[in-house]
């Protein structure tokens, strides 16, 4: 896929995502009925849940791209993994800030060692390690490999972490949307949550594509710079190849 296509796809998805984001905020504030037992604070849920889904979805992309990167050694896959990780970190941060705000009013506490909270917090730290490893290596190529290994090992461990955090009793509301017998929500609430999910998936994909395109450009700039600094050696076609 050419870089131009990537950027255009990013622009289109970005506009759609922002439009849907505005729409779902209107739904959240003016349209959706107020939940009976929790009251107005329940509306945070429409921001919280889609962010959580997107955060985990992003980590799936990170793990997949990292594994295939290690296998094939294709630089583009590492750009994709890093782009997804940055997007994932943003959405995981949204989950971790919106959750406690809701919990303070609904549960009376900012934080509790509840499985889904713990899992999200640990995921956030795995992302942090992923970035720290990458940025603290002098050799770019090694940093990529290190980060990919961290991404893959993190993903392999997620099921076990999931198991252990669930082992403690759960206080978090049980799933109301992703259930085998269909969503247990008022239809307007379901519409709102799916609008929000669509909006943030599009925003994430748009950010992902822009970040990916920027990473490709950075890599290209590095190659050109390296060729310029070493004029005695004629640059290989790969180095001056446009991104």
């Amino acid at each position: 896929m050419s870089l131009r296509t990537v950027r255009w796809a990013g622009v289109v998805l970005g506009f759609l995502g922002v439009a849907l984001t505005i729409l779902f905020h209107w739904q959240v504030f003016f349209w959706v009925p107020t939940e009976a037992s929790m009251g107005i604070v329940q509306r945070i849920f429409y921001i919280h849940l889609p962010a959580a889904w997107v955060g985990f979805f992003a980590f799936g992309i990170v793990a997949l791209c990292s594994a295939v990167y290690l296998w094939l050694g294709e630089e583009k896959l590492d750009h994709a993994a890093r782009a997804a990780a940055e997007g994932g970190m943003i959405f995981t941060t949204i989950v971790l800030t919106s959750g406690p705000l809701w919990a303070r009013l609904a549960w009376g506490t900012w934080w509790t060692w509840e499985p889904r909270l713990t899992l999200t917090l640990l995921l956030w730290f795995i992302y942090l390690g992923y970035f720290l490893v990458r940025s603290s290596t002098d050799n770019l190529d090694r940093g990529r490999k290190f980060a990919a290994v961290v991404g893959v090992v993190g993903a392999l461990n997620i099921p076990l972490i999931h198991m252990s955090v669930y082992w403690f009793r759960s206080l978090h509301p049980q799933p109301v949307v992703a259930r085998v017998d269909g969503p247990q929500l008022h239809p307007d609430m379901a519409t709102t949550v799916f609008t929000a999910l669509g909006a943030w998936t599009l925003v994430f994909l748009s950010l992902f594509l822009f970040r990916y395109a920027a990473a490709r450009l950075e890599a290209y700039a590095d190659r050109v710079e390296a060729a310029r600094l070493n004029p005695t050696r004629s640059a290989t076609p790969e180095e001056v190849m446009a991104p």
Partner: protein, 226 residues
């Protein structure tokens, strides 16, 4: 297969020989365990809670921290004077190199684990179960799992500017299953429950160790390749 095992043994023997001559890591980890136990004694208000009641969790925390201290230096020797390059040109597959390091680290950390349990038994009157085999099984499985992940990540941190400081950030989020089920099984066994009670925890620990070892064997070659 025989050759492969021989290679693993050679790497492990080299590391252990260096360790037994210098005694750097074992002394550091051993002193760390005893000193942490002393500090722990003063950190707990005995009128509220007896240290024995927290023993199972504390044993695992101390093992993790002491292990971190030792594992961080797994590749310390190789970092100097390009010794890693020397090791890499040896006709040994990368995964044998990894497993050799894991074996050497496991021997060290198993010693530290035994010391930790002994210190807690001595200082805090933790009663050890009459049949020590289940407890040894739990502690050893956990130790191997910890070392398997720690050796892989210490290979990574050795190649970064941040070095050892990065190790806990990478390692600790992934240790949650180990601490959860390791401490649970240890608490059950120390409380004198039958080993059958902790069978589930032991199975999860074994699964964790297996995943960690598989990941290490499969991924180690990517972090030393150059």
């Amino acid at each position: 297969m025989r050759e492969y095992l021989g290679q693993i043994r050679a790497i492990a023997a080299k590391d252990l020989r260096v360790e037994f001559r210098t005694k750097e890591r074992i002394a550091a980890m051993g002193a760390f365990v005893v000193l942490t136990a002393i500090l722990f004694n003063y950190a707990v208000d005995r009128t509220v809670v007896h240290p024995r009641e927290l023993a199972a969790g504390m044993i695992w925390i101390v093992i993790s921290l002491a292990g971190l201290l030792g594992l961080g230096r797994t590749f310390e020797l190789e970092k100097e004077d390009g010794a890693l390059d020397g090791l890499l040109v040896a006709p040994v597959p990368r995964d044998a190199l990894y497993l050799g390091k894991v074996v050497a680290n496991t021997v060290l950390l198993a010693g530290v684990t035994a010391l930790t349990v002994a210190v807690f038994a001595l200082f805090f009157q933790v009663r050890l179960p009459g049949n020590p085999l289940p407890l040894i099984g739990v502690l050893l499985t956990g130790t191997v799992g910890f070392v398997a992940l720690g050796t892989l990540f210490s290979g990574i941190t050795a190649g970064t500017r941040m070095g050892d400081t990065l190790l806990p950030i990478l390692l600790f989020p992934l240790l949650v299953p180990l601490i959860t089920f390791g401490a649970a099984a240890t608490a059950d066994l120390l409380a004198g429950l039958s080993p059958g009670e902790s069978a589930y925890s032991l199975r999860v620990l074994a699964a964790f160790t297996l995943v960690a070892l598989t990941a290490g064997v499969g991924l180690f070659r990517f972090i030393v390749e150059d």
